[in-house]
């Protein structure tokens, strides 16, 4: 089974990379981009029977820094 973890900076935490991407899009003439947030996607290849709870534990312990980041887990 596969799990996909999305890690994003929390709302309210300034995302300088997202801001830079937003400006670059504006410079390319894409009007109306009101905000850009950049995050990361981590794909995990897991043995059958692995639990979503174990993926949550991985996020809490390593994959996300919950001081500044939030995460969501998608099991495929």
């Amino acid at each position: 089974m596969k799990a996909r973890v999305h890690v994003m900076l929390k709302n309210g935490v300034l995302d300088p990379q997202g801001e830079a991407v937003k400006h670059a899009l504006g410079a390319l003439g894409f009007d109306g981009v009101q905000g850009v947030r950049q995050g990361k996607v981590i794909e995990l290849d897991l043995a059958e029977g692995a639990s979503e709870a174990s993926v949550t534990e991985m996020c809490e312990k390593l994959l996300a820094n919950t001081v500044i980041e939030s995460y969501t887990v998608e099991i495929a």
Binding site: V13, L14, P16, Q17, L62, N65, V67, I68
Partner: protein, 222 residues
């Protein structure tokens, strides 16, 4: 005083930090990240600057979960001292031994220059050689030094006089210009600037020297 300096794959300020401790009169042992424990009788653990594990995932995140960091946590829980500089500060926030986190610099650039700092408190073994409000010049060299803590944490840091250093001219977007913070028991300091790179005249400045001299003074007489 016996100092242990941790060495991770990608650390590059470990020797500089060891030299600064030694110059102040400390005995220094280098400790490899795969070691499970610290040497007997270590008073202070230095977590050096560099790019531990290539800064993969997040700066300091993988180092924070390495075997030696288990020993570092136990050392701190027993009341031991720790000094994290640059990547070492990132490791200390990732281990949650210090509050907050370090984000990408607001201008997205790697910044390497000497910057003015203001000493926020002289009430710690690290800063006892300075006076509160003193201006010192210390080099920074980082891409991810933009300190963040939520409002409640910031209020607590201020209330408990735990902001060790602030930037004179905020280079990286850190909240409240914070360059370094202390733990609640004042025995753990994390800071982005490099005092070990301003510890002898040939460095171009010696404003970092008092940190190591002050530490030795406090820990030997403790």
């Amino acid at each position: 005083m016996h100092a242990a300096v941790l060495v991770f794959p990608g650390s590059n300020c470990d020797r500089d930090l060891a030299v600064a401790f030694q110059a102040a009169g400390a005995k220094v042992t280098m400790v490899w990240h795969k070691d499970q424990g610290l040497p007997e009788g270590v008073d202070i653990v230095g977590v050096p600057g560099g790019f531990s594990y290539g800064d993969y995932l997040r700066c300091g995140a993988i180092a924070a979960n390495s075997p030696i960091c288990g020993a570092l946590k136990s050392h701190v829980e027993r009341g031991g001292y720790a000094l994290g500089i640059c990547n070492g500060f990132q490791v200390l926030t990732e281990t949650r031994l210090l509050p907050g986190a370090l984000r990408r610099n607001a201008n997205l650039k790697y910044i390497c220059k000497t910057v003015p700092l203001t000493v926020g408190t002289a009430d710690s073994a690290f800063t006892s050689g300075y006076s509160k409000g003193q201006r010192i010049d210390i080099p920074i060299a980082h891409h991810d030094g933009n300190y963040f803590a939520d409002d409640a944490t910031l209020a607590q840091l201020r209330e408990e006089d735990r902001i060790a250093f602030t930037y004179g001219d905020n280079p990286n977007g850190s909240v409240d210009d914070i360059a370094g913070v202390l733990s609640q028991n004042r025995r753990v300091l994390g800071m982005m600037p490099h005092p070990e790179r301003a510890a002898e005249p040939s460095h171009g400045g010696t404003d970092g020297k008092q940190m190591f001299a002050g530490l030795l003074d406090q820990l030997v007489n403790a």
